[in-house]
Structures are given as structure tokens and as C-alpha cells.
């Protein structure tokens, strides 16, 4: 181990960056400590597809040299960050957990990755996901499943399961994920960490390998809300490389300062969407969420029930739109310019078909076929066209709810972490994992998942949703939720294990 004190997973992004900026610790020692943990423990979890040992240490040393030369390091000084493997990293393999891209090395950084680097973060490695982010358990990876650090026989959720598990296991203090229908929030909930799906357009998608362009957003996964807010402030903002990015306007971007009493919620109206608490919601989810809502009310929030009447068609709408866009977005993986090619003598179209059939997994092929069908002549109006119209209704549901309340609170996932393999043969039951999260993507609004600390034995996420560009308000409610919890932030068994391997 390094001569300096090894990082323990209790450290926050804020503590690490402050210590590195102040020269109390070197970026290299921090990076090595996390790499040691990964080396010792990740074979149990399987959260990383690529660990950039040499690159991370070299980058950390560069930061240390800059600091020694008198430079003031950035807001993420020396903070190791795990990056979902559907975000392009210059010179570092980016596979999307697909066999087809097994050896693809991008020549450029995604905008969010270059913003991390500009803030002096250290990209420590690339995390596992459902292939091309299509799934809710990370079991659809073309390479390996990822296990939940709370219970290794259970899934971490997905598709950002590798990122959520890495943070929950103490392999990195922060990670980036992507969320198309819940892929940041649901694994954050199942792994007991914080995950933010920002407002559509708030964070650049340039370099995020597209699944469904009108729904995808990149966001942070961290231990706590303050760290999520810090990472968000680094990665957010308009990008000339992404035409769909937007800046908040003066009227919708302001929020009270976080220095105010963090647990005082007087004057805040919180809506509880009736449809997000169906009778079928299991008690291990509903009880901690209701307890959290009671605490928010106790802190002064005006809590009232609201309705989002189109919630029951959200999941169907989501799968039509997401798969339609995916069928087009994934057409570029034709093995002509990059990607694993299966040679074929007859013609280039046959080569493409063979390469795609061999390189893309069954769930990806299923979604491409569903999306192709939904866009086909004669079916467009019934499927894609209708889904677009329903999407407008869903947006209107949220707009009218936000006329009456400042934010909505609900469970993130209808289920706690489920056993590996329990849903793989039933795609529809897997699709229903997104039932409480997909609406936010369809409406383009931000949503934050924070752990309910009193959930036991498996983590449960509290989801906080707000109008477009209301991230600061979500952070405020999330912080209040953290302050109001009597219990300390629980840690997964893997996170409690030391790199020497004293936990079994």
C-alpha cells in the first residue's frame, strides 16, 4: 500500500478534492488507494470493464506536479471518477458492453469526460452496463454481470449498474452514468447511492454513445447529495457540440442558497403523485418512502397529493420511442469503419448483417427490431406517431402538477434489488422496472434518487422530481432528506471490506 493513509470509502468528493488541493494528500496516493481496492475486490462485484491503472496514476502524478509548481487545482482535484463505458474516452477502450465494440478505442473525449479532466478529476476506469444501456439489471452486458455490493446474489440495477455498484463498493467516490428511462436513478436506488438524471439538455450528450437521443442524459452517481451537486456543476452547461443543450433562463435557474438551514422546508410545496403508489407497491419500498415523506412534512413542507393521469401509458410510450430512436442510432454499427467485422464474400450488406448478428446481443437485437417495426411504413402513425402524441400529454401532466407544487416525491424503483437471473427470461417484467422513472425522461425534467437510510436490508431510493432546470431545488430537498434521517448513511458490506480482503 502507499505510504500515505489509504483512502477509506467514507471519504466524500469534497474531502478528497480539498485535501489534494491543500497538499495534504497527493492525487497519486488517492488514486492508488482506490486502484488497490478495485484490484482486491472488484472480481466479486464486476463493476469495471476496463481499469486504467497506468493512465490514472500518470494523470494523478501530473496533477501533483502541477500543484507542486504552484497551480491551484480544480474543484475535483485528484478525485477518482468511474465512467460508464458508453461515454467516449480518448485513447481508452469504450465498448458499451458490446462484443461488437470490444476493441473500439475512441480518438476523442466525450464533453462530460473532458469537463471532468478540466476540473482535475482522475478517470480511473470504465464501468459495466447493459449493452448499449439497454436494460435494468446490467445482466445484458456482453462481457459480465455486475453484482450488487449489498448482496452479491442480486443485481445492482441498470443500465448504469457498474457505476452505481462501483460507488456503493467504495471503488470510486463518484461515477458518471447515463439515464434514458431510469438508468442512473434505478441502479442508484438499488445500490443505496445518490443518482441524478438532469434536465434534458442541461448536460452535453456529445461522446455519449446514443441509445435514445431525445431521452438520454448523463448524470452523476455519488455517496451524497452535495457530491452529486458538485459533479453536476462541473459537467453541466451548454456545449457547441450538442445542439440540444440549453442554459437555464434567469427565472427558472435560481434557488435559495444551500447555506440556509438545510432541513427547513417551510414554504415548499411537495406533491405526492397518486399513480406512483399503486396497491401493488411492496412494503419494503413503500414504508421507507412514506417515512421519508413524513419527515419532509415535519420539516415544514406543504405535502399534498397530486395526479399524473397518463402514468399508466408512460412505459409503453417510452419503449416505442426509445426503441425507435435506438433502431436508427445503432445503425452506424455496421462494421465498415470500426467494430468487429465478420467477413462475407457476397456483398457489403451481407457483411453488415452478419457482423451485427454476431456482435449485438439478444436484447439489443430485440429492441432494434421493435423500433424498426414501430417506424415502418403503415405502422408509424399507430406506434411512433401515437407515442409522440402521448409524450405531449405526459409533459402536460407534469406542467399542470407543477402549477400546484414545487416538486414531486415518489419511490425510484417499484422493487428492491432482485436476484440475478430472476427476470432475464421475461423482458416485459424487466421493462416494468422503469415504470416510476421513464416519465421524467419523456417529459425532459430532472429527477434525483437519494437513499432512504432506514431501509433494511436492501436499499430503497426516494425519487425527487422537479420542473425543467430545477436541479438546485432537488438538491435542496435531497439534502433536507439526508439531514432529517436519524440513521447515518449505511455502507455496503463490500465498501466496509478493506483492500487486504478482511471481509469475505
Amino acid at each position: 500500500m502507499s505510504s500515505q493513509r489509504a483512502s477509506t470509502p467514507d471519504e466524500s468528493v469534497r474531502e478528497i478534492s480539498r485535501a489534494v488541493r491543500d497538499g495534504e494528500r497527493s492525487a497519486e496516493s488517492v488514486t492508488r488507494a482506490y486502484l488497490d481496492r478495485i484490484d482486491a475486490l472488484d472480481d466479486r462485484v464486476g463493476s469495471f470493464l476496463t481499469v486504467d491503472r497506468d493512465g490514472a496514476v500518470e494523470y494523478a502524478r501530473k496533477l501533483d506536479r502541477r500543484r507542486e509548481a504552484g497551480a491551484t487545482l480544480g474543484p475535483l482535484a485528484g478525485v477518482p471518477v468511474a465512467v460508464k463505458d458508453n461515454l467516449c474516452t480518448n485513447g481508452l477502450r469504450t465498448t458499451c458492453a458490446s462484443r461488437l465494440l470490444e476493441s473500439f478505442v475512441p480518438p476523442y473525449d466525450a464533453t462530460v469526460v473532458s469537463r471532468l479532466r478540466d476540473a482535475d478529476a482522475v478517470v480511473i476506469g470504465k464501468t459495466n452496463l447493459d449493452e448499449f444501456a439497454m436494460g435494468s439489471s446490467t445482466e445484458n452486458s456482453g462481457f459480465q454481470p455486475t453484482r450488487n455490493p449489498w448482496d452479491l446474489e442480486r443485481v445492482p440495477g441498470g443500465s448504469s449498474g457498474g457505476s452505481a455498484a462501483a460507488v456503493a463498493a467504495g471503488f470510486a467516490p463518484a461515477a458518471l452514468g447515463s439515464d434514458t428511462g431510469g438508468s442512473i436513478r434505478q441502479p442508484a436506488a438499488l445500490c443505496g447511492v445518490v443518482g441524478l438524471k438532469p434536465t434534458y439538455g442541461r448536460v452535453s450528450r456529445y461522446g455519449l454513445v446514443a441509445f435514445a437521443s431525445s431521452l438520454d442524459q448523463v448524470g452523476p452517481i455519488t455517496y451524497d447529495v452535495d457530491d452529486a451537486a458538485l459533479l453536476f456543476s462541473v459537467i453541466a452547461g451548454p456545449d457547441p457540440h450538442d445542439d440540444t443543450t440549453a442554459a437555464p433562463t434567469a427565472t427558472n435557474g435560481s434557488e435559495s442558497s444551500p447555506d440556509a438551514d438545510r432541513s427547513d422546508l417551510h414554504g415548499l410545496r411537495i406533491g405526492i403523485p397518486r399513480e406512483y403508489f399503486p396497491d401493488s407497491l411492496p412494503e419494503d419500498v413503500s414504508l421507507p418512502v412514506r417515512a421519508a415523506i413524513d419527515r419532509l412534512r415535519g420539516a415544514g413542507a406543504d405535502v399534498r397529493e397530486v395526479t399524473l393521469p397518463h402514468t399508466n401509458v408512460a412505459i409503453a410510450t417510452y419503449y416505442v420511442l426509445a426503441n425507435s430512436e435506438a433502431s436508427s442510432n445503432l445503425a452506424r454499427f455496421d462494421a465498415v469503419r470500426y467494430g468487429r467485422r465478420i467477413e462475407h464474400d457476397s456483398d457489403s450488406l451481407a457483411m453488415m448483417a452478419k457482423s451485427r448478428s454476431a456482435g449485438l446481443g439478444p436484447e439489443v437485437q430485440r429492441r432494434i427490431m421493435l423500433g424498426t417495426f414501430a417506424l415502418s411504413a403503415g405502422y408509424y402513425d399507430a406506434y411512433y406517431g401515437k407515442a409522440l402524441a402521448v409524450r405531449d400529454r405526459l409533459r402536460a401532466d407534469f406542467e399542470s402538477a407543477f402549477d400546484d407544487v414545487d416538486a414531486l416525491v415518489a419511490p425510484t424503483s417499484p422493487l428492491v434489488a432482485f436476484p440475478l437471473g430472476s427476470k432475464v427470461s421475461d423482458p416485459v417484467s424487466m421493462y416494468l422496472c422503469d415504470i416510476l422513472t421513464a416519465s421524467a425522461n419523456l417529459a425532459g425534467i430532472p429527477a434525483l434518487s437519494v437513499p432512504c437510510r432506514d431501509a433494511h436490508p436492501l436499499p430503497v431510493g426516494l425519487q425527487i422530481l422537479g420542473p425543467r432546470f430545477s436541479e438546485e431545488r432537488l438538491f435542496r430537498i435531497g439534502r433536507a432528506h439526508e439531514e432529517l434521517s436519524a440513521a447515518p448513511l449505511p455502507r455496503s458490506p463490500i465498501a466496509m471490506a478493506s483492500a487486504e480482503g478482511d471481509a469475505s
Binding site: C88, P106, L208, S328, R337, T372
Partner: protein, 485 residues
């Protein structure tokens, strides 16, 4: 049945490569002839994660084209994806426009100089899209390779309604379209280089029929003459096919200029379902009334308006008007000279004839002088000197050459060279007297009624005045002096 019982129905798609510095959705340069795959980036290579950002100038150019063709403009336009697999199409879809193109419902009127004068060819749509790469089949014996330098080049597509009825009408439409587009400065409109591509589709039907026949699309047409020839061939082929009991197959056919025939490109046309849907990576594009006004104000005079001005307002003969219509530099000099007060009909032959001759001569000896850079005021002054009798036409040509060589004003050259025409009878008297004295025989002949004999006397006067005498005045003075009339 004879061919005259049939009519052709033709619609034309034209693709125009825009002359922008950079590609449609990325910053790569647009350039012809660079080494393969050197003008590429993550966006036009369709690397994972790359996103398109629309080129604002290309959009402005597309709206210019749409306005110049009289189109209505969608205030909110958007891009759509056209999905199909092909090795020269990196993303597996082309970013194009489906139901919200920039321009729709326009028309182009065929010019008064056309046999189809006044025909309005309706323009269905003007939209913006990106070009594909190029497959190269002869670089490697074992496989085809692809050059993606062209991928992502902005293309404007201009689609007519099936309003054309004759191969010559198609030809005239394309010529007028080419002229109209070349005035906009948005493309070099070069058919040889492929920056303007024409894809007509053609069917035939019995005269009087209202329903359309089965159409074929013809490709590989890199000149307007090829288009005309291919249309003639294809119309005849279709008529003969139907009359001999066959039927037209909907297919794409390729024109072979060597054989003068079209041939099916594929044995059987695949039914394409392009699965168009709105491009989610690009926000809808709104164009305000103010922006439209700004673009409109940059359009300048259209060829149709210019043609009307030259022929009808200024009364130019059509051969002069035609030269100016196709030569903007000459037209600019012409307009500027007229603006200096010169008579339009007098200026035109000087520019089309004399200046053009000077231009050719200088080009032959590789002189760099740009004859069209002559100051319009100088040209106007030269014509005024001819009009008021100061210069003969022959001397004016000499002055013109001197003006072009020296850049001096015509007045200065006339003065330096003492070229002013002698137009006063008094000033001519000594030369007249000398001519009569030196040619008694001619004088006798004239008095005897042989009018032609005056030529010798006029020649004498011109020699002694070094050509400066006004020939009409010399003629008149001699007659007065000899015949006393």
C-alpha cells in the same frame, strides 16, 4: 398510333452542393480532390457518440434558394432521418428533411427566349440534406473501399412537380434553374464536378389522359444535353414498349452517352422503406420574419427580372441581353455605364463587341489586364465623345485600347494624341481647297455627274487631316464647294 398521340410527363430532382467552407453537420472543410479520408472527423465518420450540429450558413443558403424559386418558407423547419444501410452512408441514416422542408410550393417560369416561354414549372419542395461518401471499386481487386471526404457535404434538393412535357422543356427548365442558382452565389453549380446533379423521372401517357404512367428515374447525367438526349431516348423507349404490348417497369436507369441509350441499373428495384422520423439530435429551426427579410434583401436581381429589364425596359437586342445574363461581370459594367448616363443600346455593342475583343486579344498574349475593370465613367465618356462627333468610331476604338492600356481618361488621350475630329467647316477649308487643287480631274468628273469620283477627294482630305476630319462634313463641304449647292 403515332408518337404524337403520346405525351411525356417529367419531374426533376436537382441536388446542389453548397459552396460552404465547412460540412453540413461538422467543421470539416468542403473540398474537392483531397486525398481520401483526410477531410473527416468523429461526426462525419459517425464514430460512436458523435453528434451533428447544423451549419447556419448552409441553412441560410437553402432559404435563399427556396426564396429565389418563389417558395413559401416553413417558419419552423426541422431535420429528419432517412434510414438505410449502405457502406457510403456512415451513420446508417442520412440527415434530410421530410415533412417540414425549408421551402415548399414555389415555381420557376421558363423565359421569353424559350420555346416554352411562360410555362410555370411548379417547385414542390426545397430541402437541405447531407451528401454521402464515395465508394471506390477499382482501387483494390479484392474489395471496394470508401472515401468519406464528401460525406456530410451540404446538399440542397430541388424537386419539381411532374409539370414538364417535353425533353426540350426539361432542357430549358434546367438552363433557367442553373442561371437562377448561379446568381445566388451559393454553389459553383458545376455539373462536371457533380456539384449540380439532375435526376429526372419520366413516364408517358396517351394525350388527354389524366393518370400518370409508371415512371423510370434516370441517373448519370452530367450535362444538360445529356439530360435532353436521355429524355428523348427514354420517352421513345417507353412509347415503343407500351405500343408493342409491354409495360414500363419502375426502376432506376443509367444513361450511357456513348451508346445514346439508358439501361436498367439494377435488375429489380428494391422497395425502400426509409422509416423517416424527426432527427432528435437537432433542435427545430425557426426562421423569423426579420431573418427572412434579411435573406430576401441579399437575393439581388433575379435572371428573370434582369432579362425583363434588358429586353423590355432598355430595349436591348436579345443577343446582347443574353450575353449579359450569363456574364455577371459584363452585366455589372453595362449597368454601371448606363448609370453614368450612357445610352443603353449604344453601350451594349461596345461591351459585347469591342471590350470582348480586347479581352480575347489580351488573353491570347497572356496580358493580365482586366478589361472589364475599365471605369464605367470612362466608357460612358468615350461614348459621349462619339455621340457629339468628337471621335469617329474608328478613332474611338483606338482611344478605348489606350484607355485600357494606360488607365488615362478618354479626354486626356484625345488631347495627348490630338485625335479630336475636325467638325467645323471653317477649320476644314484649307484641306478642302488643297484636295480640289490636287485633283482637277475628279472635280471635272463630279461636275459631269459622276458622284463616285468624290471618294478620291474625301480620301485626300482625310490623309491631310490624319483621319480627324468628320467624313460627313468633308463630303458636304466638297459638294458645296464644287457644285455650289
Amino acid at each position: 398510333m403515332s408518337a404524337s398521340d403520346w405525351e411525356a410527363v417529367v419531374g426533376v430532382e436537382v441536388h446542389l452542393q453548397l459552396a460552404t467552407e465547412s460540412k453540413m453537420f461538422c467543421g470539416c472543410p468542403v473540398r474537392f480532390g483531397a486525398p481520401p479520408n483526410t477531410l473527416v472527423c468523429p461526426v462525419c465518420l459517425a464514430l460512436p457518440g458523435a453528434l451533428p450540429v447544423p451549419n447556419a450558413l448552409a441553412i441560410r443558403h437553402a432559404i435563399r434558394v427556396a426564396l429565389a424559386l418563389g417558395c413559401s418558407i416553413h417558419r419552423e423547419s426541422r431535420f429528419d432521418r432517412k434510414n438505410y444501410f449502405y457502406p457510403d452512408l456512415p451513420k446508417g441514416y442520412q440527415i434530410s428533411q421530410f415533412d417540414r422542408p425549408f421551402g415548399y410550393d414555389g415555381a420557376l417560369e421558363l423565359p421569353s427566349t424559350s420555346a416554352f416561354a411562360g410555362h410555370r414549372i411548379r417547385i414542390r419542395r426545397v430541402h437541405l440534406e447531407e451528401d454521402t461518401g464515395k465508394l471506390i471499386h477499382d482501387a483494390d481487386p479484392r474489395q471496394s473501399v470508401v472515401d468519406l471526404n464528401r460525406a456530410g457535404t451540404p446538399l440542397v434538393e430541388i424537386v419539381t412537380e411532374p409539370d414538364l412535357r417535353d425533353a426540350d422543356e426539361v432542357y430549358d427548365y434546367l438552363r433557367e434553374l442553373h442561371l437562377t442558382l448561379s446568381y445566388l452565389g451559393v454553389s459553383d453549380c458545376d455539373l462536371e464536378k457533380g456539384s449540380m446533379r439532375c435526376e429526372p423521372n419520366v413516364s408517358v401517357r396517351r394525350r388527354g389522359a389524366t393518370e400518370l404512367g409508371t415512371k423510370t428515374e434516370v441517373k448519370n447525367l452530367n450535362s444538360f444535353r445529356h439530360v435532353r438526349d436521355a429524355m428523348r431516348y427514354e420517352v421513345t423507349r417507353q412509347i415503343e414498349l407500351i405500343e408493342s404490348g409491354g409495360s414500363v417497369v419502375q426502376e432506376t436507369r443509367s444513361w450511357n452517352p456513348e451508346t445514346g441509350r439508358t439501361a436498367a441499373m439494377r435488375a429489380k428495384e428494391e422497395a425502400h422503406d426509409y422509416r423517416y422520423f424527426p432527427e432528435p439530435d437537432i433542435a427545430p429551426i425557426t426562421t423569423s420574419e426579420a431573418e427572412l427579410d434579411a435573406i430576401r434583401s441579399e437575393l439581388g436581381e433575379s435572371p428573370a427580372a434582369r432579362r425583363a429589364r434588358y429586353l423590355e425596359t432598355l430595349g436591348l437586342p436579345s443577343e446582347h441581353a443574353d450575353v449579359f445574363l450569363h456574364d455577371p461581370a459584363m452585366a455589372a459594367l453595362f449597368d454601371a455605364t448606363v448609370a453614368e448616363g450612357a445610352d443603353a443600346k449604344a453601350v451594349a455593342p461596345w461591351i459585347v463587341g469591342d471590350l470582348q475583343r480586347e479581352r480575347n486579344e489580351r488573353a491570347e498574349r497572356n496580358a493580365s489586364t482586366d478589361v472589364l475593370a475599365i471605369a464605367p465613367a470612362s466608357l460612358a465618356r468615350l461614348l459621349a465623345l462619339v455621340a457629339d462627333g468628337t471621335l469617329s468610331t474608328a478613332l474611338a476604338r483606338e482611344v478605348l485600347t489606350a484607355v485600357l492600356d494606360s488607365g488615362e481618361s478618354p479626354d486626356r488621350i484625345v488631347e495627348e494624341r490630338d485625335l479630336a475630329q475636325i467638325s467645323s467647316a471653317d477649320a476644314l477649308t484649307p484641306a478642302i481647297e488643297a484636295a480640289i487643287e490636287a485633283n482637277p480631274r475628279a472635280v471635272e468628273d463630279i461636275r459631269a455627274g459622276n458622284d463616285k469620283a468624290i471618294g478620291a477627294l474625301v480620301g485626300h482630305v482625310m490623309r491631310t487631316t490624319k483621319g480627324k476630319a468628320n467624313p460627313a462634313l468633308v463630303n458636304q463641304s466638297l459638294r458645296e464647294r464644287i457644285l455650289g449647292a
